[in-house]
Point group: C2
Chain length 319, copies 2
């Protein structure tokens, strides 16, 4: 059942003993949402616990101060920024019993008894900001840090086209409540490990250009990743690099996975629809970012995704 | 004479034939200010021309549509985002006749007959937003692009500690008027030339760490810069890289200049005051960013700035 912000707030006020689930491969938005909601409920005198099926990267440690660790038997499950319970890993079954889901993914599978969805919001934290206001909980520095984190990280620090005036207005509000935005932005956008610097250097050494520089490809062999002290965040960020190069309309990153498959990630200019290219290989995504997998070695993967990308560029240019 | 926004607007309303000067090594803030003011005055039926003493990087071409090219003999000079007429290069003498200066640098030398200064503003464009409102000119997409550009570029896209709630509120306003923020952010923050990618790679190859990784140094030989297709923007951006590495409190970039000198740029964490370190060598700057010059070769420059940086780290740690 689709509900609005007021109805979500009424449900949260009327009940207690909340287990809040955040998605696996946790990012700033799900973590910001989960800790903000947990902190808000605790400030209302309720019991609440925010849990993630996977380890939370240390850079997000600052979010933990928004709520206390509470042990109790949960009565109500709330999923935040979770489009599908498949994204809950080992906690999928618990997620399937969700009383409430608060999310901003158009692709939400409507698995919860009640779903508060705003597909047009850049971040689920923008929606959580409205929920916390509707709960009547006053913001403080810790809650503000949570909400700021989600709005900043899901928009590339207000850089991407999903950013709206509302995103900025919420950021401004959170800064007024003391959000430590310079620290948050430093750890999320500027800070790189020495391993990541090395990784970026190595993959850039072998960057290849096609279609007169409009298509660029980097490859990430598993052995390289394993030889460096890097985490999934570091590897994930590589996908954005080729498209940042002047003249590149399709930036491709082909990454070797532990199971022997090859994951291609595409980032595109307006010229090419990334999801359409990836769909040809059973993948998908959005207009400007997509992904698909290949199972016959690096050479095959690279050849096929590069050819499809070059074709898409030529088609767009009417060649 | 220090004046306020209303007085600046009154002066601009009462006069005509404006030559608007923007500083050399033009950035998004001075260019945004200059083109916004020029466009606003033209929309009021006045004659105005925005001029920069140096070539404007092509990535800013989109700003030009905010105003028309007008030829006329100027009667009033207005400097925008210009702290000192020394920053006007060949146009210094014209700048010295300025009737009005609109700026946000605490260090403004008060050279103009009237100075509208807001040292606490992150961008001069925030102040220009207030001036245009006081002039009663309605914003449109073109003016909004100018103001958005200054607020975004002077804050690292709302990332840095100089950002205020007001910065976000103005960005939100400019987005409502149609600012093409995704394009502006892409060209200013994501886009890199192939030359820049190569340059970054080459200097990172030889990064050196000191003081247990708290001090990091990169060197930029002139021959390397000249061997690649890069511009001053590309070279300038290198200064930010070492400090982005995890554990680094002082990031140093030593760059060989055409005149044989060596320019050291420091970026620091809260642990070390960059300006204080640079002051020892006749330089200066801000708490988190500073610079100074050396004249006895690369080795001497690097040794001295690294030693001073390590000393500052040890002093801060009470060693």
């Amino acid at each position: 059942m689709k509900i609005d912000v007021q109805q979500a707030a009424e449900f949260l006020k009327a009940n207690d003993d909340y287990l809040i689930l955040m998605h696996a491969s946790p990012d700033g938005d799900t973590l910001g949402c989960g800790h903000a909601l947990c902190g808000a409920l605790q400030r209302m005198g309720k019991r609440a616990r925010a849990v993630c099926p996977e380890e939370i990267p240390h850079k997000f440690d600052y979010l933990f101060s928004a709520c206390e660790k509470q042990e109790f038997e949960h009565k109500n499950v709330v999923c935040v920024d979770v489009a599908d319970t498949k994204l809950l890993g080992d906690m999928k079954e618990i997620g399937d019993t969700a009383e409430l889901c608060i999310d901003h993914h158009e692709t939400n599978t409507d698995y919860a008894k009640r779903t508060l969805l705003r597909g047009e919001y850049a971040a689920a934290c923008e929606l959580m900001y409205e929920v916390i206001n509707a709960l009547g909980v006053e913001f403080d520095k810790e809650l503000a840090n949570c909400i700021y984190t989600g709005t900043a990280t899901d928009t590339g620090c207000f850089k991407f086209s999903n950013t709206t005036p509302q995103t900025h207005l919420i950021a401004a509000e959170m800064m007024k409540f003391g959000a430590d935005y310079a620290m948050i932005n430093y750890v999320n956008f500027d800070l790189k490990t020495q391993g990541r610097i090395k990784l970026e250097q190595e993959v850039l050494k072998n960057i290849r250009y096609f279609e007169g520089g409009r298509v660029a490809l980097i490859s990430v062999p598993l052995a390289l990743v394993q030889s460096l002290d890097v985490d999934s965040d570091d590897v994930g960020a590589l996908a954005n690099i080729p498209r940042q190069i002047e003249g590149v309309d399709v930036g491709i990153c082909v990454k070797e996975k532990k199971n022997g498959s090859f994951k291609a990630s595409l980032r595109t200019s307006k010229l090419v629809n990334a999801a359409e290219v990836c769909l040809k290989f059973g993948g998908g995504g959005h207009a400007r970012a997509g992904g698909c997998s290949f199972f016959n070695g690096a050479e095959d993967a690279e050849k096929r995704i590069v050819e499809a990308s070059c074709e898409a560029v030529r088609a767009a240019l009417g060649k």
